[in-house]
């Protein structure tokens, strides 16, 4: 009973986080006048297009009247006749009901301006790139981190510690640029960017291999930049747990070393490690903006980057909402997993 209640409270507070984030974005865009300018630009653009589309020979007065009417209709449709905060409730409501609206400039491959369609099209690309890079980094991190923590001070431990520090310090987009320079431009082993060759191969298998070939450099750069962080986090958590008194007690009990490691070290270290993994995976959905941009990879990160530069308000709001939603869901999943893994978290 207490469990269901505490999870419910968690769910409500996470939903509040989502609302607050939405509120902040919309308020910033509205308060700074960004939203008004954007909408005015759209109205002007569409009115001009309408004026051009009017048949030749219309009387100038009638023509001016029709254009003015059209402009008023548009202004009302976009809610420009009320101040920005007047548009706020309907906007938040639309986004919450997952109707993200139309993009201004971005398009899906089929030419649709529907933001849902655009995001759904980009999401798999990001998952393919960033999520697989994170999964690889996490696997390397857990494996090497645990190994290094087994014999602290060993050669492996020292080498991985140096590697982690270097990996931590190098930004992934910078690694990406170096990769492009050396492996793509100088050695010509890999393409410099994009997702497919032009034209893409027809055969599905060849097409898949073509994508992998294009993904190799960005995944490599991300893995190099991220695995160090996971190695170090894993090593620290496992090492701290291994120094707990109950681990010595387990050894004194005559338990074999593999049971001591499994039940007394890794089992106890699991919740914090899991936090890193889940939050990393949730973060991966938002894409790595700079890495995707460097490699011109058509994922969420590049979409975000372009939306900011083309002032595509709908996309910015929609993507930010999506990222927050994924994060909030991940947090909730974590809460549930924690209850399963750590008996102390049963409130």
């Amino acid at each position: 009973m207490g469990l269901a209640r505490s999870l419910l409270i968690k769910a409500i507070s996470l939903f509040a986080v989502l609302m607050i984030v939405m509120g902040i974005i919309v308020v910033i865009l509205g308060f700074s006048g960004y939203s008004d300018r954007l909408l005015n630009a759209i109205v002007t653009q569409q009115t001009n297009a309408f004026a051009l589309s009017l048949p030749e020979g219309t009387l100038p007065e009638a023509r001016a009247q029709m254009i003015a009417d059209y402009e008023t209709t548009l202004t009302e449709a976009y809610g420009l006749n009320v101040p920005w905060w007047g548009r706020l409730p309907s906007m938040v409501w639309r986004v919450l009901s997952l109707d993200l609206g139309e993009a201004r400039t971005a398009q899906s491959y089929a030419g649709s301006k529907n933001i849902n369609a655009i995001i759904l099209e980009r999401l798999p690309n990001t998952i393919l790139l960033i999520t697989s890079a994170i999964v690889i980094s996490v696997i390397i991190g857990l494996f090497v981190g645990i190994k290094a923590a087994t014999v602290p001070g060993s050669i492996l431990d020292r080498v991985t510690s140096y590697f982690s520090a270097v990996s931590y310090a190098m930004p992934t987009w910078w690694i990406g640029i170096i990769f492009i320079l050396v492996l793509a431009v100088m050695l010509r082993w890999f393409p410099t960017g994009l997702m497919y060759s032009a034209p893409p191969p027809e055969d599905p298998l060849m097409r898949f291999l073509d994508v992998l070939w294009h993904a190799a450099l960005p995944i490599g750069a991300l893995t190099l930049g991220l695995s160090g962080i996971y190695i170090y986090q894993t090593r620290t958590v496992v090492l701290n747990t291994a120094q707990e008194d109950f681990v010595s007690v387990a050894r004194a009990k005559g338990l074999p070393e593999n049971i001591v490691r499994r039940r007394y070290v890794l089992r106890v270290a699991a919740p914090p490690l899991l936090t890193n993994v889940i939050l990393g995976l949730a973060g991966s959905i938002s894409g790595a903006i700079l890495t995707e941009t460097v490699f011109r990879w058509p994922g969420m990160g590049l979409l975000y980057y372009n939306a900011i530069f083309t002032a595509d308000e709908g996309i910015i709001v929609g993507l930010t909402f999506m990222f927050t939603l994924v994060y909030v869901v991940a947090r909730f999943v974590l809460e549930v997993l924690y209850v399963a893994l750590d008996p102390r978290v049963r409130y």
Binding site: E244, D245, F246, S248, V249, A250, R251, A252, K253, G254, L255, P256, I259, R263, Y264, R267, V268, L341, D342, P343, R344
Partner: protein
């Protein structure tokens, strides 16, 4: 155990944590090891179970347990034949001795299940029996450590130490983290267990009053060495080593005007201990020979020995 030495490797050089220690725990008796912090009490006890850290410089001597030489056994023999089966231990810092994510009952019977492959139901029966013996309700079997009070946790740990019916239990400051009334309950429990189970105990403490309550014999340690041993009564009434004398004088007494004395100076640096008797820089009766030659354990009568030149000369 005789002539056991354990030196730790440090950046400054080897630390002589345990130096030529001789100690005997007779069957069914409790021996109290007392001394200041850092004098090697805990290090002595981990030698017996060979729970050594990685930074070992030297580990020599002989440890005879029930007719078997432990120093000749391999690590895996120690693990499978000695630890918990023959010698179990209640650790210092009881609050952290239990795994927070495993039910206490499972932790109690874990050695039975893993080492002896006892079936789950039988293990539970034996676990609950041990829990009853240590004054725990059977319901506690399914609880997690964080659901128990400090005193209950300590009872769990004692039940855990008894689960394999070992011959010797090492108690390393088993009550120092508990408040006084709980401490008294645990001490009474230990006394009962010693009587019922005919257990041998090695009781490590800096609290002389507690130790005298439980133990038949005393071993006083100073700077990695045993400086005095003997029957508890003898050592308390008639200490033969100046350090024991000073240690007893430093204990506050109820309803007495005697001001507790402190021992001037600090324990020596064990990387570079003083030559001869290690206590001589702090000793009120220091003589010429003390800083030149190390004394032997001189008998002072009735099984009492003191590591001091006041109690013997070069000829014994």
């Amino acid at each position: 155990m005789s002539d056991v030495s354990l030196y730790y490797e440090t950046l400054r050089g080897p630390v002589q944590a345990v130096d030529s220690v001789n100690l005997e725990v007779p069957k069914g008796e409790a021996v109290g090891v007392v001394g200041e912090s850092g004098c090697g009490k805990t290090s002595t006890s981990i030698c017996i179970m060979r729970l050594l850290p990685d930074n070992i410089h030297t580990f020599t001597g002989r440890i005879l347990f029930d007719g078997r030489e432990l120093m000749d056994m391999t690590d895996s023999e120690i693990r499978s034949q000695i630890r918990w089966r023959e010698v179990s231990m209640v650790f210092q810092g009881a609050m952290n001795s239990l795994n927070p994510v495993i039910r206490v009952g499972e932790q109690i019977v874990e050695p039975l299940r893993v080492l002896d492959k006892v079936q789950k139901d039988e293990a539970r029966e034996r676990g609950v029996a041990r829990m009853r013996q240590t004054g725990l309700p059977a319901e506690a079997y399914r609880m997690y450590p964080h659901e128990l009070s400090g005193g209950m946790k300590q009872r769990v740990i004692i039940a855990m130490a008894l689960i394999m019916s070992p011959k010797l239990v090492i108690l390393d400051e088993p009550t120092s983290a508990l408040d006084v009334s709980v401490q008294a309950q645990i001490m009474n429990l230990l006394k009962d267990l010693k009587r019922e189970e005919d257990l041998s105990m090695l009781f490590i403490s800096h609290d002389i009053a507690l130790t005298s309550d439980l133990c038949d014999r005393f071993a006083v340690m100073y700077a990695g060495r045993v400086v005095e041993t003997g029957e508890a009564e003898q050592v308390l009434q008639d200490p033969q080593h100046p350090y024991t004398e000073k240690l007893l004088a430093s204990v506050p007494r109820l309803r007495s005007d005697v001001t507790p004395e402190f021992i001037p100076g600090a324990p020596p640096d064990l990387v570079n201990p003083p030559p001869g008797c290690r206590f001589h820089p702090r000793c009120p009766y220091v003589m010429d020979i003390c800083s030149k030659r190390e004394p032997e354990m001189f008998p002072t009568g009735d099984g009492q020995y003191a590591h001091c030149w006041l109690r013997g000369d070069e000829h014994g």
